[in-house]
């Protein structure tokens, strides 16, 4: 395994009323896509902003290539914040050129425009872009210094499904260039598609960490049965089943699919809306925290 590009050591961030990050430690090897997952308020954006050097930690430290964050990190990091406004009255090309001028090394403006498929928008006022186009521009700005590490903080929040899928394709093309990516998201599909390794956060702590497939194998040797809540009578709760309640459905994890189905039929549970599927990251989060991942 290669040496870590980024190391987070015992990170703590306290505010007067709350502890947003509570002793978080992990490391990110070079060339992987590392996902920080968690619901809103879990502490993932705070953790990432400390990693980006934007927020000072209350305690702990972040090291880049074995050194505290410094000038080299700022030159080699690309960042896409959850929300960013740009200067008014500038075209797409001028916005990219502005940020290109802030770095010593990087890609040509035209190359970044090509990578992010912004050729037809290059002369357009940046304020007049759609949500998906705006995110592509912000990604272009994050790539302008040809970064060794790219931070993407909830990059597809608020995008329509098509724009989201287009953005994922762009991120996959960046992954193919062996860039290290730190991705925060609460979209499980996004994490499963893009991330090589994930850390799940809840209440400022990491509750699980590792490659998604391994984490699922570790926590779920079972299959998962899903029933609408209204189809699951209270009397069936007396059955010796492993249940996970969520807002709209009841989930049952089991090693013995046939035995479970027989028990449900015997309890007169209607099975016409039953779904049987393998567990995913959302199930993992429910398993670990007892909460739904999405707010």
């Amino acid at each position: 395994m290669s040496a870590p590009l980024l190391e987070v050591r015992s990170l703590v961030k306290q505010y007067p009323a709350t502890t947003a990050v509570d002793g978080v430690s992990f490391s990110v090897p070079e060339g992987i896509c590392f996902g920080l997952l968690g619901p809103n308020g879990a502490g993932k954006t705070t953790t990432v902003e400390i990693m980006e050097g934007i927020l000072p930690p209350t305690a702990g430290e972040v090291r880049y290539r074995g050194q505290p964050l410094g000038a080299r990190f700022r030159e080699e990091a690309g960042i896409l914040f959850q929300k960013t406004a740009l200067q008014d009255f500038l075209t797409v090309r001028q916005c990219i050129a502005l940020f290109r001028g802030l770095y010593t090394h990087g890609l040509e403006v035209e190359e970044v425009i090509r990578i992010c498929a912004l050729e037809k928008l290059a002369r357009r006022d940046a304020r007049k872009l759609s949500g998906g186009q705006q995110q592509r521009l912000l990604l272009a700005i994050a790539l302008v210094n040809d970064p060794a590490v790219l931070f993407l903080d909830e990059p597809t929040t608020g995008l329509d499904p098509q724009a989201r899928r287009n953005f994922w394709q762009l991120v996959e093309s960046i992954k193919a260039r062996r860039k290290t990516i730190i991705l925060t998201t609460h979209y499980m599909e996004e994490a499963e598609l893009l991330c090589d390794e994930i850390a799940i956060m809840d209440r400022g702590r990491i509750v699980a960490q590792g490659p998604p497939r391994r984490l699922l194998q570790e926590h779920f040797a079972e299959v998962l049965l899903e029933l609408p809540r209204q189809d699951f009578p209270e009397s069936a709760r007396a059955l010796p089943l492993k249940l996970i309640d969520s807002t709209e459905r009841v989930e049952i994890t089991t090693h013995d699919l046939e035995g479970t189905l027989r028990a449900l039929l015997a309890a007169q549970v209607p099975l016409s809306n039953l779904r049987i599927r393998p567990p995913n990251l959302e199930d993992l989060f429910l398993e670990l925290t007892g909460k739904e991942l999405r707010p």
């Binding site: 960013t84 008014d88 050129a97």
Partner: protein, 335 residues
């Protein structure tokens, strides 16, 4: 460093030049003000003789001349200041009634000729001292004030609100994630605003000069130096106000708190002479007052570098204080 500074400088200039509304407002408002004031105040003066008196003047029995009607007698303690006013035709005649009567008259002033006749009728043996000098029109006196006030608004609000907007929108936070330093960012803002202010002020100076015509006795280079010093000082003051805060109401209130006294008491519209002493003292704390005093000295009296050195030094010193405080208190993001 220069490359980063120029990138931000260039982008800010583009933003300003493409914001047509702000650009037009910045240029057109002072032109309208000067034309309006010139129209209102540029006509013939009131038919009242104004005579400065050195020595006793209250008792009309002290001298028969003091009993003349249609003449306003103004007590003046300082002869140098009184002669300065006479040379600018702010007085029609100056008399010294302590001892044997002596008077000074501006030989370029028609009203001086008339009021001299009245004095000589009252005392034929009074000793005459001629003085020369063209009249200072109100428009000539007002013009530096208009330019200075335009500069003040553009510097304080232009820089203050721009930085505040950048912070509130998250643009500053995004810049903070690059190698750009606070010093580079602030320097780019100062240079951008300074360039725009000097350009606009230069256009106004030349344009209004060509349209209305005004008197400038001093060096244009010295005026340019003053414009740079004054603009830098007020830009730095604007940055100081906007360095930390994120509330538009608070920053707007603070900027108004600064600009209203300067608008009223820095001598833009009327001379501060006659104001209570403490008002004059407070007014001279304002950068705008220092700028206007020096600009009027250059434009009206032809003052040189040595004469305006105190004002230049004051502006330079306060610029450094404001910049140091602004850099120290600067915040990239909303706390």
């Amino acid at each position: 460093m220069i490359r980063r500074l120029l990138s931000v400088f260039h982008a800010r200039n583009l933003e300003f030049l493409r914001d047509r509304g702000t650009l037009i407002f910045t240029v057109v408002l002072p032109i309208m003000l000067v034309i309006g004031m010139g129209f209102v105040f540029g006509g013939p003066q009131r038919p009242l003789f104004k005579v400065g008196v050195l020595g006793p003047h209250d008792d009309t029995r002290a001298h028969p001349f003091l009993a003349e009607r249609y003449v306003q007698f103004v007590p003046l303690p300082e002869r140098t200041e009184a002669l300065h006013k006479l040379s600018h035709q702010q007085l029609d005649l100056l008399v010294d009634l302590s001892g044997s009567t002596r008077y000074w008259v501006n030989t370029d002033a028609p009203k001086g000729y008339v009021v001299e006749r009245l004095l000589r009728a009252a005392e034929p043996g009074a000793r005459r001292e001629p003085v020369t000098g063209a009249a200072v029109r109100y428009i000539d006196w007002l013009f530096p004030g208009i330019l200075g006030m335009n500069m003040m608004f553009s510097c304080l609000f232009g820089v203050g609100y721009v930085v505040l907007r950048y912070r509130k929108s998250g643009f500053l936070k995004r810049l903070h994630a690059t190698p750009l330093t606070a010093f580079e960012f602030l320097s780019a803002q100062v240079l951008s605003r300074l360039t725009l202010i000097l350009f606009v002020t230069g256009v106004l100076y030349a344009g209004i000069g060509a349209v209305i015509g005004f008197h400038s006795a001093g060096s244009a280079a010295l005026l340019a130096l003053l414009a740079i010093a004054g603009a830098l000082c007020m830009i730095a003051l604007g940055l100081t106000i906007a360095a930390r805060f994120s509330s538009e109401e608070l920053v707007g209130g603070l900027l108004n708190l600064l600009t209203w006294p300067m608008r009223l008491r820095a001598g833009v519209w009327f001379s501060l002479e006659g104001s209570p002493r403490w008002v004059q003292w407070v007014a001279h704390v304002f950068p705008l007052t220092q700028l206007l005093d020096a600009a009027r000295a250059v434009m009206l009296d032809g003052a040189g570098l040595a004469q305006i050195a105190p004002q230049l030094s004051y502006l330079a010193a306060t610029t450094l204080v404001f910049l140091a405080f602004g850099a120290w208190s600067f915040r990239w993001r909303i706390e």
